[in-house]
Amino acid sequence: MMRIECPWCGSRTEDEFTCGGQSHIARPDPARASDGEWAAYLYQRDNPKGLHYERWHHGFGCGQWFNVARHTVSHAILAVYTMSEPKPELPDVPGDKA
């Protein structure tokens, strides 16, 4: 079970959170987006072996959504930042757990 550092509540175990999937996906203007652009917004997601920027919800705590940069192989969490903060630039370390 992972331990996630909530920006408000501190370090908690994974079972207090739910993962909302990939973060930093801009919602296109529905009036302008083509079918293809809209479908990409709905369905196309990164599936990296490495760093993944995703958002989590502390449903059993403060109720806040925030961003997590997690390594999908080692589950190492390299950054936690609020929704209003920009995406941090992190070196993509290779997976150390195959």
């Binding site: 408000w8 509540c9 207090e16 909302g20 079918d35 809209w38 919800h57 059993f60 403060c62």
Partner: protein, 1167 residues
């Protein structure tokens, strides 16, 4: 060995305490300190079980968890446990065990004849043989013959607990290295050290040492450890999993070492979740067997085990022993045996070069040294009689010269040592192959972990191991690798010949290491044989991945207290006691215990529902509707937000009016519906489907926090703060009119789809005129604490109208008759609003809403989409093309398919079908392809093998004009019911939590405060300074509590606080707060009613809380005067520690009070 012999002196066995036990129905004796295995050896029992596939006799082979032979069925009846390693069972008085996998007994096993067919039962035998006609036919036979003991048939009578523990350093293993590591870490007094040891007593390999100095060191060190307050030693605790982020799981045997404990107040085992800062693995090493012909005979044991039985248990296992080895460790064993006076005939060593010192000492002890020799055969029925040896060729690839026969009654073997790297591998650490010791050792770690001692390959004496993975020049047929599953060297070679390359595939094809052994003794030998057969090195072959659990774990321990009623959290309705008193049939619906219907004596379900439906249609009914989701949305941008949320127009919704709304997800799929009420220009009340409130709330928060961050909106889930009752039926207005209140209920003043707030019997009330039954209905909400009183008042007021309490099942019949949509029943994961007939209404709405763009994708425009429709069943006896007679006898079930026009495949299905007592026939709803275009057409509904003709019609079968909503039957001559004065104000108590009063733990309901919630709009941090100025006090931050006089302010979320004031002062404080913050964008609410507060105290309180939460409650981490919002026993709670003493206050939803009470009752067992 001979039964009844004297034990050697200076052992760990207490010969003053003699214990009687049963094995295979025979009474035997042992001593306190014995294991079942050592006691069986002392009683001369050589055959304990039979192997899995070939039923070969198996005896004690090891002394610890690597045992694969001495597997027993322990105890009987509900307490029975299969596959128990006799080496791990401490002997207790009255122990009862049986050998396994044999009939009639392990000594005379009929199936042993299978051993004769070894050659025709290779690894792939099952896969290749039982193909025809199918495996299912053969399975029962194979299962009976190839057995592994039997599972208990009765429920487990024992109880189990789960608990979380936090430590800065966790040491796994209580041998020499582990003890030293624990002491070193404990030098820092702030460092909490947890030391896990899996044996009955700590000491690890030291327990088997013949050196008095080592025993003295152990005693002294254990005494020293006991003096450190920051070291917690957990005996009988096996770490069985190493998970992400340095979290470990461990199983502690609390009473299981004492045998069956019927009715014990203690749990049998505790499953620990360990949150570690740093982990030290001191898990030791396991000895490997050697692979040679007929190496599976009882009487062949690991050399280390022979030493342990002698030094620790005082047993002399043979009268003439032979040692067979490929490393130095067995030589020390042989010398120790000789020193104990046990004749050792020879040491056979595959190495030509053996240290001269060892050779010399052995010669002095009269031991023959056969260096460069190997064992080529063993003989003996039910035991060892002879070992045949032969010289190895110079290159070690063949045997040569004459065979020599050595007489012996015990063969002690050592194939080298394997560091116990299971946990290290589970943690993600890499394993490196060390050629000099022929073993894998820990490499680069992936987490904060250190491996010490033999687990790290640091052997105190050099081993000088030389690998011989199988005996060369001889048939691999009878050279065992996995002793329990009967996997031999030939099976692995067969897999290699059949082109299996991956070690993971070979493992599964041959089942090597898949038995109870889990690779502990068979893994490295199997890899060696595979590497040789495929001409690769062992690092090239790689190793199979180690996965939790390291050691078999009882299923009950994984369940903990989450069994039966506590399987998952349950919520109770405010008027729960009234429903129970009325004999309601309760069911779990969305986590709530809700009445399905209220049967009278001997009334069946169908009759009850029919009576309740008629009661509502003809007079008046009362339903507890409290689980109805209620969210309050407020703020300057609330209207705009809701307009983006619903497909319906919210801009035009007037204050006091209500409107039905549909909610989509971004993919355009209908996810929720409900009535939206405008309470004020900037204040709305959203109703969601029952049980859907928290999901919808989380979705709203996601949009506000992640996408539309500029909207100034505050969403609060108030579902459990209000009790909601639905009064429905022609007499609803007359009944409600009997209750004193300030809301004008007249038809003119209070129209359908209107909302009024006021007072009812002196308490705040919210009334919504909406209808889910088709009858005149009032949905009445009062603060949750008054729910029971309101129920009783309405039942009294309705008595003369024949009021009928009705349940959810009856409500579903009423709404199906009316064709009202039930999201989740009548919709699926593809349903879009246009499928429900909302295309026209949506077209009129301008602007965007969630999911709108997706409706315009191709999938949404398909003319053959499944659309919501009514389905009428037609009479099959008539020509359906001409007649329209309805069939009043036909029935249909949910899920029945509507056949496609060509009669093949499905064109949709029935979603809601029931017998309508009102219409006297079945009514059905469904989603059917192009149903809107095909209204009036005849279709076939496929059900139970036959096609029932039916017609697609409008969903509403009853009162399509909606006239009944306006119905106002004349009621004459009724005097208002005399209600007791101030009835509702004298709040009836809700179900009270049974207190807990045990040693070290007390639980009681805390009623000494009122609760107020204070929130800032949009949780906007910029508004906090103004709030601080208005209040004249600093507000607490995360985890903080501020005191002001007798008030306590607790942080609960960003921009949200909970305030406690002495009971009775809540209202005045609320008004004072509202006045002080009138100019600010804040909301203050009295929430006492919706909450329960538990006072928890006693010396054990932190332990018991740690069974519900993973938050660290140590005073250094969770200091007095702090609070936390966390997950506890599966539900959200707030924990508050008011003082230095061992006491906590726990705040939770009132509806979960009884669940929490029962949870604490179960989880507060002592251990």
């Amino acid at each position: 060995m001979k039964p009844g012999q004297q034990r050697l002196p200076h052992t760990q066995v207490d010969t003053r305490e003699r214990l009687a036990f049963q094995f295979d129905g025979k009474t035997c004796h042992g001593y306190h300190g014995d294991t079942l295995a050592s006691a069986l050896l002392a009683n001369g029992v050589t055959i304990i079980g039979r192997s899995f596939k070939l039923h070969r006799p198996r005896g004690v082979f090891a002394a610890g968890k690597e045992e694969t032979g001495a597997l027993v069925q322990l105890e009987e009846g509900a307490f029975t446990e299969p596959n128990v390693r006799a080496t791990l069972v401490p002997l207790y008085q009255g122990l009862n065990a049986r050998g396994q996998n044999a009939w009639p007994s392990v000594r005379f096993d009929i199936y042993a004849v299978l051993g004769l067919f070894k050659k025709v039962l290779p690894a792939s035998f099952y896969y290749k043989t039982f193909m025809w006609p199918n495996w299912q036919m053969w399975e029962p036979l194979v299962r009976r013959v190839a057995g592994l003991g039997s599972a208990p048939s009765a429920p487990d009578p024992d109880t189990y607990l789960q608990q979380t523990v936090h430590a800065e350093v966790v040491v796994v293993g209580g041998g020499r290295s582990g003890l030293q590591a624990a002491l070193a870490a404990a030098a820092d007094p702030d460092c909490r050290v947890l030391l896990l040891d899996e044996q009955e007593v700590p000491g690890g390999a030291l327990l088997a040492s013949p050196e008095p100095a080592e025993r003295t060191w152990l005693t002294r060190t254990l005494a020293q450890i006991a003096r450190y307050p920051n070291i917690t030693l957990m005996p009988r605790t096996t770490a069985n999993g190493y998970h992400d982020h340095n979290m470990l799981t461990a199983l502690q045997r609390v009473t299981s070492h004492l045998g069956p404990q019927a009715g014990s107040s203690q749990p049998r085992e505790v499953f620990w979740r360990i949150v570690a800062g740093r982990v030290v693995l001191a898990t030791g090493a396991l000895e490997r067997p050697l692979v040679f012909p007929h190496n599976d005979r009882p009487g062949i044991m690991l050399a280390g085990a022979v030493r342990e039985y002698t030094h620790r248990y005082g047993l002399v296992l043979g009268e003439r022993m032979v040692f067979f080895t490929n490393n130095d460790s067995a030589w020390h064993g042989a010398l120790e045996m000789a020193a104990c006076g046990v004749p050792v005939a020879a040491v056979v060593d595959i190495r030509r070069e053996v240290a001269p010192a060892l050779l010399q000492r052995a010669a002095e002890a009269g031991i023959r040294c056969l260096a460069g020799y190997t064992v080529v055969h063993t003989r003996g029925r039910r035991g060892m009689r002879q070992v045949l040896v032969q010289q190895l060729s110079a290159d070690g690839n063949d045997v040569q010269g004459p065979r020599e026969t050595l007489a012996c009654d015990l063969l002690a073997m050592s194939g080298g040592w394997t560091p116990t790297v299971h946990l290290f591998s589970q943690s993600g650490g890499k394993l490196d192959w060390r050629e000099s010791d022929s073993c894998f050792v820990p490499g680069d770690p992936a987490q904060a972990v250190t491996v010490v001692g033999r687990a790290n390959g640091d052997f105190s004496q050099p081993l000088n191991t030389r690998a011989q993975w199988l005996t060369p020049g001889l048939s691999p047929e009878y050279q065992w690798v996995d002793f329990q599953y009967d996997v031999t060297a030939s099976d692995i070679q067969l897999a290699a010949r059949e082109n299996y390359v991956s070690v993971e595939h070979v493992k599964r094809y041959t089942t090597n290491g898949m038995s109870i052994d889990q690779g502990k003794t068979s893994n490295v030998n199997g890899l060696g044989i595979l590497a040789q057969a495929t001409q690769r090195s062992i690092p090239e072959v790689g190793t199979t991945r180690f996965r939790p659990p390291y050691h078999p774990t009882t299923l009950g321990a994984y369940a903990g207290v989450e069994l039966g009623a506590l399987y998952k959290p349950f919520q109770q309705l405010p008027a729960h006691a009234c429903h129970v008193a009325l004999g309601a049939h309760l069911a779990d619906m969305g986590g709530w215990q809700r009445p399905e219907y209220y049967p009278r004596a001997a009334e069946c379900e169908a009759d009850t529902i029919a009576r309740e439906v008629r009661g509502v249609r003809e007079a008046v009914g009362l339903l507890d509707y409290s689980p109805l989701g209620k969210l309050e949305v407020r703020g300057p941008d609330a209207r705009e937000f809701l307009n983006r949320l619903y497909i319906n127009n919210i801009i035009t919704l007037r204050v006091g009016a209500a409107r039905y709304g549909l909610m989509l997800n971004e993919k355009g799929i209908v996810v929720d519906d409900g009535v939206v009420v405008c309470l004020a220009e900037d204040h709305f009340l959203l109703h969601t489907t029952s049980g859907g409130a928290s999901v919808v709330h989380a979705t709203l928060e996601e949009w506000l926090q992640c996408e539309w961050m500029a909207l100034r909106v505050l969403v609060t889930n108030v579902t459990t703060q209000w009790a909601t009752l639905m009064l429905s039926g022609p007499h609803a207005r007359a009944v409600l009119g009997q209750l004193p209140g300030d809301i004008d209920l007249s038809r003119e003043a209070f129209a359908h789809m209107q909302f009024r707030a006021g007072t009812l019997c002196g308490v705040p009330a919210r009334i919504l005129r909406a209808s889910f039954t088709g009858e005149l209905s009032f949905e009445l909400s009062v603060p949750a604490g008054y729910g029971r009183s309101l129920w009783e008042a309405l039942m009294t007021a309705g008595a003369s109208f024949g009021i009928t309490p009705f349940g959810i099942e009856s409500l579903m019949v009423l709404r199906t008759e009316k064709g009202y949509l039930h999201v989740g029943s009548d919709t699926d994961g593809n349903t879009m609003p246009q499928d429900l007939g909302w295309a026209g209404a949506m077209a009129k709405k301008t602007g965007d809403f969630i999911g709108r763009r997706s409706l315009a994708l191709d999938v949404g425009l398909d003319p053959d989409r499944l659309q919501f429709t009514g389905i009428e069943l037609l009479d099959t006896t008539l020509d359906t093309t001409l007649d329209t007679t309805l069939d009043t006898t036909a029935t249909i079930v949910n899920g029945a398919h509507v056949l496609a026009e060509d009669g093949r495949g499905s064109a949709g299905y029935v979603t809601s079908a029931c017998f309508s007592p009102t219409l006297g026939r079945t009514v059905a709803l469904g989603i059917v392809a192009a149903a809107q275009r095909r209204q009036g057409e005849t279709v076939a509904v496929y059900y139970e093998g036959k096609a029932q003709p039916a017609r697609l019609v409008a969903p509403c079968s009853y009162d399509p004009g909606g006239e009944r909503l306006q119905l106002a039957p004349e009621v004459s001559g009724l005097a208002p019911v005399a209600l007791p004065p101030g009835n509702l104000a004298a709040q009836l108590p809700m179900a009270t939590i049974p207190g807990v009063d045990k040693v070290g733990f007390r639980l009681s309901e805390y009623t000494e405060c009122d609760l107020i919630r204070l929130q800032v709009f949009h949780r906007d941090p910029e508004q906090v300074p103004a709030l601080v100025a208005a209040l004249g006090m600093e507000l607490p931050g995360p985890g903080e509590v501020h005191w002001r006089g007798d008030q306590r302010w607790l942080w609960s979320a960003p921009g949200e606080w909970m305030l406690t004031v002495p009971t009775g002062l809540g209202k005045s404080m609320l008004y004072a707060l509202r006045e002080a913050t009138a100019e600010l964008c804040t909301v203050a609410t009295l929430i006492t009613d919706g909450r329960v507060i538990l006072a928890l105290e006693g010396a054990r309180v932190r332990d018991i809380l740690a069974r519900g939460t993973t938050v660290d409650l140590h005073p250094q981490q969770f200091c007095p005067g702090s609070c936390t919002v966390t997950r506890f026993a599966g539900i959200p709670v707030m924990l508050f520690k008011p003082t230095e003493a061992d006491d906590f206050l726990l705040f939770a939803c009132r509806s979960l009070a009884i669940y929490l009470g029962e949870w604490f009752q179960a989880a507060s067992r002592d251990c």
